[in-house]
């Protein structure tokens, strides 16, 4: 499936994380200000609410070469906009199943709830995602290839 599996030792995955600005982004911020150590592989994109995340963004990230994608929002019931994350939940659970059906390993796509007070929780989630993706190796399937 992947060509550069032999480089897995030194493989540094590229993770794209879509975070909601009110909980998860604040949680990641807290992790920073509390000096909690976590890997730097995760590139954060801030969105106003987790329900802003169109599942096609995830496809787009994979297509642009992300090795893993993480979507994170407020805990159900804690949404700043009251109900946003309930919609996210339905959407992403089904989308994950669809990814699995066409053969993308489900461990490449993660969803989580991280609240503004969970700095350590955020670091744990990132570690878990990076461990999973490192195990799988580089994502080579959906990456756009330039044909010479």
């Amino acid at each position: 499936m992947t060509d550069n599996n032999e480089n897995n030792e030194n493989f540094e995955p590229k993770i794209i994380a879509f975070l909601c600005t009110w909980c998860s982004y604040a949680g990641a911020d807290l992790a920073g200000s509390a000096r909690i150590q976590y890997p730097t592989n995760v590139k954060i994109i801030k969105v106003m609410c987790s329900s802003r995340i169109n599942p096609l963004f995830v496809l787009r990230a994979f297509r642009k070469g992300a090795d893993g994608v993480l979507v994170s929002g407020c805990h159900p019931g804690d949404c700043h906009y009251l109900t946003g994350n309930y919609f996210t939940r339905r959407r992403l659970i089904l989308f994950k199943k669809q990814l699995e059906w066409v053969g993308i390993d489900p461990r490449r796509f993660h969803m989580s709830w991280v609240s503004a007070s969970e700095g350590q929780g955020w670091a744990d989630v990132v570690n878990k995602v990076i461990d999973d993706v490192k195990e799988l190796g580089p994502q080579d399937e959906m990456k756009r290839k330039v044909v010479e």
Binding site: R63, F87, K97, G103
Partner: protein, 346 residues
């Protein structure tokens, strides 16, 4: 399966002026197939056929009504559109009513119970194999009796096994009787059991095998967009996978960029095809009524029904939701419950 009954209903409706036009099938040029037609006069309605060759989902043609622009000074015709539906088509019509594309009063539905429709290429192949005369198709009449498809022509009869020539989708059809209708033709038909035998093979595969399977299939796709155009649930004016001209300049605002985001390029490369089919699958989540038209029209034979059937199964198992069963507004991804399953969240 009676032509006469349909013709009588349709021509009466048109003669009395109860509908502005009537959507139905007439016999196609090759004799085997049928083609969708708009009848505006009772004479045109007398050409209608209703037999197992009527594969087309007439609900797709309802959207044409929305696209028509009135001439200057022309009064809009407020009479309903007459439409002929089978069981599967009636769900598509119901979906359009659920999503407020049409109101219930705007459509006059003539439903017919359906034993299944034939896969025309398969029937043609079987016909040629037996060396039957092609000219005979001028007077061909198809009917389904029990487990046989009977083709009668020139006073002769030819029998085919139903399982050999029928559409794949009819073998697992759970709604052979129209779910909504104003008039009904035919006797009630026993629905097939609620099972997904067509998915078993794929479910047994590992992700890597599935990836190999779909890469193989999607690399054939020429992005003709037939699957999108035929779909009764695809009615956007501008399709998210076919942006007209996303021109970005230095003054393009983020909002404009957002509205014009292109999720798959126009070139039918393997990766872009993948994105296209995934987008289509996701947009159909909780809306697809499983009429199987995308699978039928695909010119390169991609088994798109494997995608929609799996989606249908997931949606039913996880949220117990099925679209297009009644006319009550209902949309899976625009609703939520507090106690929705939490599977997969860290």
């Amino acid at each position: 399966m009676s032509n006469d009954q349909l013709r009588k209903i349709a021509s009466t409706l048109l003669a009395e002026g109860k509908v502005k036009y009537f959507l139905g099938n007439v016999r196609g040029a090759d004799g085997f197939s049928s083609k969708p037609t708009t009848a505006r006069t009772p004479e045109e309605a007398n050409e209608f056929v209703w037999d197992p060759s009527c594969v087309n989902n007439m609900a797709s043609y309802l959207h044409e009504d929305k696209k028509r622009i009135l001439k200057r000074g022309e009064e809009p015709d407020t009479r309903p559109i007459g439409i002929f539906v089978k069981g599967c088509d009636s769900r598509s019509v119901a979906l359009n009513i659920q999503e407020h594309i049409f109101e219930r009063e705007q459509i006059y539905i003539v439903g017919a119970t359906c034993e299944g429709v034939v896969d025309v290429p398969k029937l043609k192949k079987a016909w040629m194999k037996r060396g039957l005369p092609v000219a005979a198709t001028n007077t061909l009449q198809l009917s389904i009796v029990g487990n046989e498809v009977i083709a009668s022509f020139d006073g002769k009869q030819e029998k085919f096994a139903k399982d050999d020539v029928i559409m794949q989708r009819c073998k697992v059809c759970r709604y052979p009787n129209p779910v909504i209708h104003d008039e009904l033709i035919g006797e009630q038909v026993e629905p097939k059991p609620d099972a997904y035998p067509d998915l078993e093979e794929m479910e047994a595969m590992s992700p890597a095998e599935r990836w190999a399977f779909w890469t193989d299939q999607f690399s054939n796709c020429v992005r003709c967009l037939a699957c999108r155009n035929v779909c009764p649930a695809c009615y956007c004016r501008e399709c998210s996978v076919q942006r007209s001209n996303p021109a970005f300049g230095p003054r393009t605002t983020p909002t404009e960029k957002m509205a014009k985001a292109q999720f798959s390029n126009k070139t039918p490369t393997k990766e872009d095809n993948f994105n296209f089919h995934m987008s289509r699958m996701y947009h159909m989540t909780g809306r697809c009524t499983n009429c199987g038209e995308c699978n039928r029209v695909c010119p390169v034979g991609i088994p798109l029904r494997l995608l929609t059937r799996k989606m249908d199964k997931d949606v039913r198992e996880t949220y117990d939701h099925e679209s297009g069963l009644d006319t009550e507004p209902k949309n899976l991804l625009a609703e939520y419950r507090d106690d929705d399953p939490e599977g997969g969240f860290l």
